[in-house]
Symmetry: C2
Subunit: 105 residues, 2 copies
DNA sequence: AGCGATGGTAAGTGGCAACTTACGGTAAGT
DNA sequence: ACTTACCGTAAGTTGCCACTTACCATCGCT
């Protein structure tokens, strides 16, 4: 499974993506996050686990709390995937446009 | 629902993403696609519908066949989302790094 | 008109994933 | 040591979604 694939599956869920964006904007603990979303604390924990497995999130222990923060690696992987995809796809897209252009002068 | 949100949900499914990538690389009909994936033709049709609703795919009638091709709009939306996200997140990420740096000279 | 090919959609099913509650385990404060 | 707070995980439930089969409409060809 490629690096971006797991990340895309993870970001496919709206709740999980919202949590990810929230964590990216400000590193936070689990209870802090659970307080801001309409889901239970274990649900947040499970989402964070998926995000972590996808390389999108890191966590560091800070006393009894675990602070989750952005992991640039996963985000970079997804970004690069779309960036590359955009370039190559747009190229072939232009090829098709040019081809149909040449066929009817 | 933002433009990129629907697209990300659509690309969350691996099969659907594979179909999308295949369509992007070469415009094709439904049966053609169904022949290349281990799912039935209606399944492909349904995936294409989701991709179309997400603005990721276009379709044009060509005789009795419908040729599906990439819709740059949806792809651009996702790309821009990650591009922007990458910039802002990386900025705040650097802020945190700098902050913790300043706190322990 | 009749036929074969294409494909959208309805209906139904199975499996999975997102969620809950319950429990246990660790860290800090008193 | 006891309590309180934080959190991961196990167990169970539910709803959704990806998939199938079946049916019907449309298009092109003879």
């Amino acid at each position: 499974m490629a690096d971006h694939s797991r990340a895309l599956v993870a970001l496919g869920d709206p709740t999980r993506r919202a949590i990810f964006e929230r964590v990216a904007s400000r590193p936070s603990s689990v209870v802090e996050l659970a307080h801001e979303f309409p889901v239970s604390r274990p649900a947040v924990s499970q989402h964070l686990r998926v995000l972590k497995d996808a390389g999108l999130v890191r966590d560091r222990a800070e006393g009894a709390r675990r602070i989750y923060s952005l992991d640039p690696a996963g985000l970079a992987a997804v970004r690069d995937y779309f960036e590359q995809f955009w370039r190559t796809s747009l190229a072939s897209f232009r090829d098709v446009a040019n081809r149909s252009h040449e066929e009817e002068p």
